[in-house]
Symmetry: C2
Subunit: 127 residues, 2 copies
Amino acid sequence: MSVSLDLVFAALADGTRRQILTMLLEDDMAVTDVAEPFEMSLAAISKHLGILTRAGLISQDKRGRVKWCKLEPQAMRDAIVWIESFGQLEALNLDAFEKFLDEELGNYPESSRSVAAQQHGERYDGQ
Amino acid sequence: MSVSLDLVFAALADGTRRQILTMLLEDDMAVTDVAEPFEMSLAAISKHLGILTRAGLISQDKRGRVKWCKLEPQAMRDAIVWIESFGQLEALNLDAFEKFLDEELGNYPESSRSVAAQQHGERYDGQ
DNA sequence: CTGATATTCAACCATTTGGTTGACGGTTTG
DNA sequence: CAAACCGTCAACCAAATGGTTGAATATCAG
């Protein structure tokens, strides 16, 4: 559905880019200065900055021969909204499940707990 | 740094997978039922579920010939923590900037604070 | 046992990603 | 003007992604 959400999450799915965003939290920076702490080439950092820009997470402003990179935290709001609404729905769901247990199964903790235990048990046997 | 954060964000960077997660919010589902609303093959959905599983966002529990998919919202906490701590740092930064404005533009001119404010303020006139 | 159902595996394909290197176009600076 | 600097572009590479199809593996039902 939402293409921009794809781009934002994809941009965040890389440690180098997350580190760049953290650096930009302190200060606007030139491309060369962004690249300095990393061990990869300047061209690679330039690509990362392009990905961050296309995702809307930063903006780049060229003044003279220097291109300043500026954080655009607004763009992260889409991701935050999605994740948090997700969390809210989950909370509602757990509420509903608790209500269901309380009202539908009454005060019989053994039977209700055995159902829940069966559903929640035996994870991570896959690998 | 954090590999799992890479995996979580990468898993979230696909609309199909986000839709699957939303579906699983309502109920645990079998793989075939997960695949039903999508127009791609069952094998493709199976791969998506594998990616979600490796990211820790869901778990898969095989009972008989049916593999039940269950949301594991715990894994999303890493992503939430990262994004929100990011937001907090931004808020702290804005706080510092507000302080700078308050103290620099006239209210309580204290010499020891003005030195710190000058250091903070320099990043905003960085051409 | 036979057949249907549920799911994955294996091979393949096109596209994207993350990296490299070298050359190139603007912009200062000496 | 000439040289140094800032950053991107182009071509290339290896690996991953997202999808397909067809065969394979379990499990259930009759």
